[in-house]
Subunit: 314 residues, 2 copies
Amino acid sequence: MKIPNFADIRAAKARISSFVHTTPLLTNNTINSISGAEIHFKCENFQKVGAFKFRGACNSVFALDDNSAAKGVATHSSGNHAQALALAAKMRGIPATIVMPNNSPQVKKDAVAGYGADIVFCKPTLEARESTLEQVIAEKGHTFIHPYDNFNVICGQGTAALEIFELSSEFEAIIAPVGGGGLLSGTAITAKSQKPGIKVYAAEPEGADDAYRSFKAGKIIPSKNPDTICDGLLTSLGELNFEIISQYVDDIFTANDEEIKAAMRLIWERMKIIVEPSSAVPLAVVLTNKELFAGKKIAIILSGGNVDLGKLEF
Amino acid sequence: MKIPNFADIRAAKARISSFVHTTPLLTNNTINSISGAEIHFKCENFQKVGAFKFRGACNSVFALDDNSAAKGVATHSSGNHAQALALAAKMRGIPATIVMPNNSPQVKKDAVAGYGADIVFCKPTLEARESTLEQVIAEKGHTFIHPYDNFNVICGQGTAALEIFELSSEFEAIIAPVGGGGLLSGTAITAKSQKPGIKVYAAEPEGADDAYRSFKAGKIIPSKNPDTICDGLLTSLGELNFEIISQYVDDIFTANDEEIKAAMRLIWERMKIIVEPSSAVPLAVVLTNKELFAGKKIAIILSGGNVDLGKLEF
């Protein structure tokens, strides 16, 4: 299993920098007073398609040689990776097929279709997704771009942290949310290569704590019936991701949904920006472990801002 | 009646620049496609206290000579100006008294008190506000800082537009929401002095269209029983503001609450930022007058981001 190194992440940055947004790093005085730490938020909610996922998808698509690229790309996803891959393929001018569960929300189907990707529907089970995807690949010769257990995806996700270190190397800790581990593993490689002494922490919802349990057990323990408002963090750790996380991550903390909602509300109210629940887990972890972070300069990656506002009454 | 000129606004900028945030100017591809225009949003929702009001309050407080300043400042307001003045006074280390209606929401009382200002409650009528304020001023020797009908407040508000022109002078139109007219009049002076050919437009809710009617009639027609979700735009035009607006503003457009809500949702969903309803009126106006703005480079001032999120179910 080949683990990416920092040169791979630097190469990813060179490859995608004209396609992705360099997102801002924001601070907030009130949140600093409440937490007792100096927190710098990397705003991937402002990234294209509203999430860091676009970095990895973009790097995977543009890393393909011309022959493979011409045959297109495919994935199974109903989330941000689906839109990210569809947009990246559109930018390179190549076909993309997204396998989506037939019960996906209309707004997500529309978004993927809006980027010009083909959608193939399947039953809403992991087995159906995987078998349908295999069929698509066999028929069309597409390259499968896994949402997180993929070398180039991980390198792409690592470019968010790289932008942070390009602004300052004084951070004592960096915290990313963990679902499949794509963002966390890319972040960890970048952070430890840029500053070996930095602490790399993961933040995970209590109701989907497979990464926490896997990390402590030293082997992958798959997620079973996860239950959390963080719809972006339901998946189990990937193999390559677990390998990297075991090697580079210092610790994983969990927070419950009430703590996550309170942190999310704080970000909305005080920073006036919209983040999805998954993005708020790192701040929830800081606020429930204040003694650990007090007085420290910390970077937190806000992973995305895709919330269904249809439910809100204005 | 002395009207501020551009030198006054430049002086305001020099006076307040170490206290206010230089807010970002953001664009969004989707909103540009939908509108057919190239819109640059000046994000005063990211300003201190969450609204442009801090600029004017800050300029008024720091423009006082030491003797007057030592005696403190006062205003009547239950809105963003109350918090803005309280914070500005705190920064200069002088007393502030805010007259607030006794039915003000607890969260607003807490915010003002949190900045260390004294609060004097009164009955929720304009008469009670004014007479209570007079009493406070007579007793304490405070200087009254009117929320918008005030020379230095207008100069402070004009610094938001000045930051826009420091980035680019290529704008063909600039649009600000109008309530009392503080932001609009400062914006108009800056814009016309920086680029005489630019169009300066105001955007106003249909349910509180006193500025529209005053502008067309050539005299102030006070707001009567305004009814709109834009709680920041309920007041009538000030006298100094009307004078400036008559002279420098090209036109005033109105939008109804449904159009404003749709524009606000678009900003939340696509830009991932939180703005209050008042901020969305200019975009609503652009979207309902597409032919006028098609192909043009436009600046819109997002006036603030103070929304009661307590009502939202996460």
